[in-house]
Symmetry: C2
Subunit: 702 residues, 2 copies
């Protein structure tokens, strides 16, 4: 039990470290008055949006809360479940909100620092990103450990139950926490994603294409909305997303520990691993130091050095942790390694397919010369082929972690041990999230800094520096997405196993389910599951399209009706565009969440446990490839466009560039709305299935 | 056994009917000398290409043949297997080649008839399409029945074996026939698909976009290649594709009959159903008659009338067939109905999402006003959401056919009966293929007729008529694709079951495989399977892109280097473009086939039977949704473009139209190369798995 106090302590250290970084960023110079003014407008817009978002979400949470309350009265779920669900939602909102606050404070300071030098800009932006990263992991680990300690106290001191049942009860209740987290994360990702991309696409379509003014030009009425979007989508949404991955990985392995026969030590192991991961991430973040006159390459090397150092330290320390907590199970060490390595490999693969330094994006750029059609086809093709390495890597990680942790399909016991190993691999992959998130979150901050530099009329060198920072961020962000998607696959597999064992538990002794692949209920579940990410993707892309259309109309209207706008003598009405993005994103984010919550329940009623299991697995395998395809195609288009803008094939304004802009527009919802939301969706489906397992067991047609 | 002779007889009738239609078309007027000249060039190009294709393919077949020969010496497969595999390839090539011949004869005659009236044009084109349709089903049924009778004769008279083993031996050997058919079909679809889309995209990119000459303008050097492509891709490729579906459906149900305890009558039932399906299709095709002055709407009604009549007749007659062949198993009747209805529903859903008469394409067209980016996003979104109805429909068909045919997951026997029911549903869906293929194949013929009309300088009214015919064809072709994809899903499920029973057979008594969803080998198989269609899609799209690029360069070169080409005083070098398309399509079609054959074998060696089963199911569920998404997105873009060309949002030449052309370019490889090939791929993976089941059973790591 000592381990959990250690983890709790480390989670507090992580939050303190985040505050320390926050103070350091806050102390940095804010630049000119005009910059501060613009930054304030962005910050106010972002805060106002998030508050509205939380209000809308609370209605949804209220409804689910009441349903759970009803189920708890009927005895289908425990009394704590409705409240823990709410708690999960609240916890999931915290890092998103704080991350957004941090980002809006850092953007103007990054711009001011980038005026002095590239490396100073990096320092501010990276500190801010790290602050976001460590608040995410700190709050996450704090929540799980705290909840665990509370429930443990409750069942051993207040409402005393059999010792053998305590761990079982706690882990199944903590899964509800995960469902709350996933719900909130889905809203944050989808809502923020719709907002940011509607504003981005809308601003570009009229500004760049129709009117011919540069990006982030202050005359564009959608420019503030675009910058607000970066904060609510790319920072708050992404923060909630990775927070959810982190929580999901830890709780799914805890939940499997009992079945695998590891008892309390097995429940605690993932938390301790996560805690030590935070410490090594702090060390990794601290070594990111850059010389005053560093080149872009040196900057990137310095960023990746932090990640590699953390991974290396994690590797060494996990050996000691496992030796102490679960002696005699050193096979789990290999599970951690396989997870860590798989994360790195997926990250490198993502980088290869999306960075303009390598052949895929270079070839893709060439296709822009024959027009937008071939450029779009080429990007889809890159996205599709980029699924191969992640799939093979995850497959290998599954196999290695299963076998090394004593997995054996011949016995129930061996099976559970192996599945616990798979879950531990997910924890290993996410253990260094603090530092990977730091490199991930700093991208949108640099992007925003560029926007502020442009709008406040700073010298063009500043924009050059912020663009360099931004493009570094694209590469590191790709790595972050690799971790998110890889861990989502491993975590869901662990959740699938958890679901099965909970179903058996609920159904009582002697119950057995036919889960063979050729059971029609399983097959139908797989078919429906494979389709859900497409339905979801279609809906979210449509939402971006519709919202962008409203923005386009508003921007056109302003250019037509406000005299002197084009000449720069009149101010556009920025808040109108912010408002359009906010209202439509809030309206359109509800149905996707309803899909995630509704489909597993309906499938349970229709097809019972085998159908739900099929649904979970179908959604995972199909969603995994679709999410990677969308994220990487989007990244490849974006960087190919940037490559062309840097002068290739005629540079900015050429026909090749116009074609590339089309591809980038398609890629925007791919990589920042639909793709990343799918990761959350598949985990949400799994969590909902687990929480509502009683329904599928007791009430089904087939 | 009488039933099989009946089926054989009907297959001969079908071929005779095809010849009769052929003669009727041949007798029709050929138009002017110039038209004949152009038609001959196209015909020669198509024949030359197909001959080269068969040559290339024969190398591949030779290699697989030798491998099978080796395996037959080792006793892993029976002695007949290598030869039956070859036979399957040859049989699969026949309808493709004859269909192409028919189409190249009919195109010029359709153009000549369309000069007189719309309905005369329809009559010629539809007769030609029906001729293709009935040669496909005739040859297919003839092949299966003939092979069955030969093998039956062999095992009862020449190499006499136990009576109880005869049906077992025959059905497993006929599966090798299916593998040959699938291999050849994959080559025809992929090779033809690359050819046709490379030529199409290449011709449009330079002709329409850069030089600004209309489609099918004789000055465009790629115009002949484009028209050759219609014949080798949309006719020969599509013919081989649906031939493969047809064969796959029949043999997979025959293979399941023994396990289900139906014996010989169960083996024969699907053949008889297919035979009667041909008769009702002939009746359906004969009622397609149009008045001289029919409107477009009346023409469409007349075409669909044929399909509905055939389906209705099939419904009635299948009751009698089942009553006669398998009395007491009337539940199978509901399986046939569920298949037939599922086919119709998927067809209607496809029509809804791809026809400009309905809301999805209309909304999509509107998105063209905000540029190519939003138009492409919109089309992808339509494609994605269009997967919902087919998935739910197939799921319902699986459930109904399983349960109604006595399926019961509690007993091995009940399981097999239910799976046989699913296979029979696939046969039901494909039974009226003759008439659906007729409406499908006539589209490219009308398209070609339009090309000939344009190139030979016929009056513009002719082009209006052929365009109307072509657009009718787009809608009916969509229906055909619905059948192909729906039946592919059902057929593969039947093949999955076949695989499992063959694996148990090979492994010997007492062997059991852990096929539960949470077995890591199954999970990895599912992951890899879900990824394969993406890998395949990426490769085929790349192939189209690369080949189109070569065509673009050649066309540009000719416009630059041939003086007087633009003015129409000099002739372009058509054959250069045909040659480029041919060589690159032949070179690039080999790797996708290698994926289809190689992956299941490697998976078998790596993960054994559970892994292969996961692979098959993963590829099916992921491939199913991906194929529908691609086909329908492509159809929606195409028809949205046509809708705009008909005058909406500024009509031809407007910015909206330019955006729509980009979408259509993306859609070309989607709907005519990658999407339809995926259907074949998933069946090929299943067939190869079955043929090489011995490898997975005896030789695997996990």
């Amino acid at each position: 039990m000592g381990g959990i106090y250690l983890a709790l302590l480390i989670s507090v250290i992580s939050m303190c470290f985040s505050v320390f970084l926050f103070i350091r960023v806050k102390r940095s110079s804010v630049g000119t008055e005009k910059m501060v003014k613009i930054s304030n407008i962005i910050s106010l817009g972002a805060s106002a949006y998030l508050r509205r978002q939380y209000k809308t979400v609370s209605v949804f949470f209220g409804v689910v809360f009441l349903v759970l309350l009803l189920l708890s009265f009927c005895g289908v779920v425990s009394n704590f479940v409705p409240y823990i669900f709410l708690l999960g939602g609240i916890f999931s909102a915290i890092p998103g909100y704080l991350g957004m606050k941090m980002a809006t404070i850092a953007n103007v300071r990054t711009a001011a620092a980038a005026e002095k030098s590239l490396s100073r800009g990096l320092k501010v932006a990276f500190s801010a990103g790290a602050s976001v990263g460590f608040i995410v992991v700190g709050v996450g680990l704090f929540g799980i450990c705290g909840l665990f300690l509370f429930l443990n106290y409750w069942y051993t001191n207040v409402n005393i139950i059999e010792t053998s049942k305590i761990a079982q009860n706690i882990t199944s209740e903590i899964l509800t926490f995960g469902m709350g987290v996933s719900c909130m994360a889905l809203f944050a990702r989808v809502g923020g994603g719709i907002f940011t991309k509607a504003a981005d696409v809308g601003a570009d379509l009229v500004g760049k294409v129709e009117v011919g003014i540069p990006e982030d030009d202050p005359r564009n009425p959608a420019v503030i909305a675009d910058n607000v979007g970066d904060n609510v989508g790319d920072v708050a949404g992404m923060g909630a997303d990775l927070f959810e991955s982190y929580i999901g990985g830890i709780i799914s392995s805890s939940a499997l520990a009992i079945g695998a026969g590891y008892g309390f030590p097995g429940v605690i192991l993932p938390m301790v691993l996560a805690g030590v991961g935070i410490i090594v991430s702090i060390i990794g973040a601290l070594v990111v130091r850059v010389k005053e006159k560093a080149t872009q390459k040196e900057l990137l090397a310095s960023l990746t050095k932090g990640t590699y150092l953390s991974s290396g330290l994690m590797l060494i320390s996990s050996r000691f942790i496992i030796k102490n907590i679960l002696p005699g199970n050193m096979g789990l060490f290999w599970a951690v390694i396989s997870g860590l390595l798989a994360g790195l490999i997926i990250g490198l693969s993502t980088e290869y397919f999306t960075s303009s330094s390598y052949q895929p994006v270079k070839s893709l750029s060439r296709l822009s010369q024959t027009g937008a059609g071939t450029f779009v086809i080429g990007g889809l093709s890159v996205g599709m082929i980029s699924t191969v390495i992640p799939v093979v890597t995850v497959s290998m990680a599954v196999l290695i972690s299963f076998l090394s942790s004593g997995g054996n399909i011949a016995t129930v016991d061996g099976f559970q041990r192996g599945l616990y190993g798979i879950a531990i691999a997910a924890v290993g992959m996410l253990s260094t999230l603090g530092v990977t998130l730091a490199t991930d979150a700093y991208g949108p901050i640099a992007d925003n800094a560029g926007g502020i530099a442009e709008m406040s009329g700073m010298p063009p060198e500043v924009r050059v520096n912020t663009d360099l920072l931004d493009s570094l961020g694209n590469t590191t962000a790709a790595t972050g997405k690799g971790y998110a998607v890889g861990s989502a696959a491993l975590t869901t597999l662990a959740l699938v196993a958890t679901y099965l064992y909970r179903a058996k538990d609920v159904a009582g002794a002697g119950a057995s389910f036919d889960l063979t692949l050729i059971n029609p209920a399983v097959l139908i579940g797989l078919f429906v599951g494979a389709m859900i990410p497409y339905l979801f993707g279609s809906y979210t892309m449509d939402a971006v399209g519709k919202s962008a259309m409203s923005v386009v109309n508003e921007v056109r209207r302003q250019f037509k009706n406000i005299p002197g706008l084009m000449e720069g003598t009149a101010e556009p009405d920025y808040s109108a565009c912010v408002d359009i993005c906010a209202s439509s994103s809030l309206r359109l984010m509800l149905p996707p969440a309803a899909i995630g919550v509704g489909v597993p329940i309906i499938t349970g009623i229709w097809l019972g446990v085998p159908g739900v299991l099929g649904l979970m697995v179908g959604a995972t395998v199909s969603g995994f490839v679709l999410a990677i395809m969308m994220a990487n195609a989007g990244g490849a288009w974006d960087n190919a466009k940037k490559y062309i803008e840097s002068g290739a094939f005629g540079g900015k304004g050429s026909d090749a560039h116009k074609a590339a802009v089309v591809g980038d527009t398609v890629g925007d919802p791919f990589k920042d709305t639909s793709g990343p939301s799918i990761n959350i969706l598949i985990k949400l489906i799994a969590m909902v299935s687990i929480v509502f397992v009683g329904v599928a067991v007791s009430l089904h047609f087939v």
